[in-house]
């Protein structure tokens, strides 16, 4: 069982590297969809106490994180993007190197937190930290607005891992509320994206510069 968790989490780490290296939006979205699926099945494999409710909830999470959200963004891209490049501020090779450094650093600092639950799943905390930091990296290092939304989703995935891995306290209804908020947030962002594209013929955030001091 323990190995299964670590294998799955390793896949999540792999998805981070893929997303850092992808230059085109569709492949970036695919990497994120893969990550969404992988992250959602972690609670099933960790298996705190599997009730029917928790299995159903995990499946709902999987559908939303792994299918609905990526599909929504994919459709938005298909509708709007003339430029399908992610327009990096930091280049792909440098990004990949940064991603590797991130994973190493996360693995290095995780044992220092001294969490009682972390003992069973060696990769859980490093993966969560990596996803959080990698999401922020995408937010800062890509000029394309869609890539920024994907960075936000990656951060959310990281927080979800922290939540499922370490505390089993939250009720499913509350978890579902959080998931719904994220979904609605991504939908609103996608709608704004389409409008940005209509107004500027592009989704490069460098164009959004009129409002400043």
């Amino acid at each position: 069982m323990i190995q299964a968790v670590d294998t799955i989490l390793a896949l999540a780490l792999l998805s981070v590297l893929i997303s850092f290296g992808s230059s085109r939006l569709p492949s970036l979205i695919k990497a994120l969809a893969f990550q969404g699926v992988v992250v959602s099945i972690v609670p099933l494999v960790i298996g705190h106490d599997l009730t029917l409710g928790s299995i159903v909830f995990t499946l709902v999470t999987l559908v939303i994180r792994g299918i609905v959200i990526p599909l929504f963004i994919y459709l938005a891209v298909k509708k709007v993007a003339i430029h399908r490049e992610v327009e990096p501020i930091v280049g792909y090779h440098a990004s990949l190197l940064a991603g590797l450094a991130l994973i190493v650093a996360a693995t290095f600092v995780s044992p220092k937190f001294n969490l009682p639950q972390a003992g069973d799943n060696a990769l859980l905390l490093p993966t969560a930290i990596t996803l959080l930091a990698a999401g922020m990296f995408l937010l800062m290092a890509r000029r394309n607005a869609i890539a920024m939304v994907l960075g936000y989703i990656m951060m959310e995935n990281g927080i979800y891992l922290v939540g499922t891995g370490f505390s089993v306290r939250a009720h499913h209804i509350v978890e579902f509320g959080i998931l719904l908020d994220v979904l609605a947030g991504v939908m609103i962002m996608a709608i704004i994206l389409q409008n940005i594209n209509q107004a500027f013929d592009d989704v490069n955030t460098a164009l959004l510069r009129t409002l400043k001091e």
Binding site: V162, F166, S167, V174, L180, G185, I188, N195, L211, E213
Partner: protein, 473 residues
């Protein structure tokens, strides 16, 4: 059945999206009336919630709820008159979003569960995004994008903070519901390290939403690009909702004996906000952005007061209430000015006193109130914060505080004088209908009355809210 207070606006909000446009304004005002009545009922009776783990009626929540309710009612009257004067492409979306926004903000004030609080605060972002995008120009698009992205990312950090607090429960072996009230009771057994980390993340997350510098960058854009009734709501009550999340977490910190830690961070962030606001107010060119920076300043003042605790926290609560009343009236008046002069630039306005006398009275009165002139409550609030800071020995902080307030006042006064009295060639494009000036007068009058006479139940509620935040009175 406490939950009905936010379920009614939710229902009417959804209805507004589907009903024909002619109903939308009356629906807005009607919901405002019902909401005000229900809030007053909650204030008097303080009933139990149906879902006690998730919702409860707390003193600090009630204070915010009453302010939200009163403001929304007055703003809904203003909006009905305002919509006659402006072109809005989809009135149904506008009123529907206003009502949903009201519903989510009410939910914030009533939520007791840490995660439900997060859900509600994130929902306020989502419900208010269409309001900012109402005018559908490139600039509003940019403002909406910044607002949604910066606030969502910020609030995601608050979610991480909330998760870390549940982690501190796990490690401390505390088995109670994850609600603010239960955690405050058991705070001593929570793991201090993770509680502190959780607080920092929550402060940064909700602080983004509250407009604390350096996470404030979305605020001037969103407040200046949104239509004025929406700006009034954003500035008057949305910032309070985010503050409520910080306030309640701060209470847990105090109960856990970590009040000094949280207080120091709050004071530092508050001072940075006041300083940033002071710098940008001086060289501001647009009056709506001026008001937005003034909101950042006031949120800074409130954070400093909360950080000091005791009398300072009481002052912060006063500032919170009066800032809502006065700032929303100022934003409504700025809506009149925008309609009258047709420009957001300060240099293209002038002679407000002669051209639009009724708006001038409201605008100038609001300016006097927000700058901390004696007849208004902000003065008393700031005075209490300064006294508390001296008593607790925060000499450097209080020095920066007073100096920045002076700078803000000087900058604000310069711009308001220009708007009110300097000569300008402009034709005024609106007449001042009663519905577009009376709401401001009522707001300012309420602030004035509350300064001279605080009803005993209000006083007791404020004391109940702040008495667990340490320090002497």
């Amino acid at each position: 059945m406490v939950e009905i207070v936010f379920l009614i606006p939710l229902l009417t909000g959804v209805m507004a999206f589907f009903l024909p446009q002619i109903f939308s304004r009356s629906l807005l005002v009607l919901t405002g009336v019902i909401h005000l009545i229900l809030s007053l009922y909650l204030w008097i009776r303080r009933p139990q919630a149906l879902f006690e783990i998730y919702f409860s009626v707390t003193p600090e929540g009630l204070l915010s709820l009453l302010v939200i309710s009163l403001l929304f009612f007055l703003i809904s009257i203003y909006t009905s008159a305002y919509l006659d004067k402006t072109e809005i492409r989809s009135e149904r979306v506008f009123t529907g979003s206003m009502l949903l926004f009201l519903s989510t903000m009410t939910m914030v004030t009533l939520s007791d569960h840490i995660m439900v609080m997060w859900i509600a605060i994130e929902a306020t972002t989502l419900a208010s995004a269409p309001l900012i995008y109402t005018h559908r120009s490139a600039a509003t698009l940019e403002a909406t994008w910044k607002y949604v992205l910066i606030c969502s990312v910020g609030i995601a950090l608050a979610l991480l903070g909330s998760v870390l607090i549940t982690l501190s429960m796990d490690i401390g072996g505390v088995d109670v519901p994850v609600s603010f009230s239960a955690l405050t009771g058991e705070a001593g057994r929570l793991d201090p390290l993770w509680l502190k980390t959780g607080f920092v993340f929550i402060l940064v997350g909700y602080g983004t939403k509250m407009g604390l510098a350096p996470m404030h960058t979305w605020l001037p854009d969103a407040h200046s690009e949104a239509p004025s009734p929406a700006s009034a709501l954003l500035s008057g009550v949305l910032l309070n909702c985010a503050y409520l999340g910080i306030f309640k977490t701060n209470k847990i910190m105090h109960a856990a004996g970590l009040g000094h830690f949280s207080g120091t961070i709050l004071i530092a962030l508050g001072l940075v906000s006041i300083l940033v606001a002071a710098t940008f107010i001086l060289k501001q060119t647009e009056y709506k952005r001026l008001l937005a920076y003034s909101s950042i300043e006031n949120m800074g003042i409130i954070a400093v007061g909360t950080g000091i605790g005791g009398l300072g926290a009481y002052g912060a609560m006063l500032c919170l209430i009066h800032h809502s009343l006065i700032k929303s009236s100022l934003f409504l008046s700025s809506g009149n000015i925008l309609l009258g002069y047709g420009s957001r630039l300060i240099t293209e306005t002038g002679e407000l006193a002669g051209r639009m006398p009724k708006t001038f009275v409201a605008f100038f009165g609001g300016f006097a109130g927000i700058s901390g002139f004696p007849p208004f409550g902000i003065f008393i609030g700031e005075l209490f914060i300064i006294i508390a800071a001296f008593r607790n020995g925060h000499y450097i902080a209080v020095g920066i505080f007073i100096l920045s307030l002076c700078v803000v006042f000087a900058g604000f006064a310069k711009h308001v004088m220009q708007i009110s009295f300097s000569g300008v060639h402009a034709t005024i494009r609106m007449d001042e209908k009663p519905g577009m000036v009376w709401p401001q007068y009522v707001l300012l009058l309420t602030s004035l009355v509350l300064c001279i006479w605080i009803p005993d139940s209000l006083y007791q509620t404020i004391i109940q809210a702040v008495n667990s935040i340490g320090g002497r009175f």
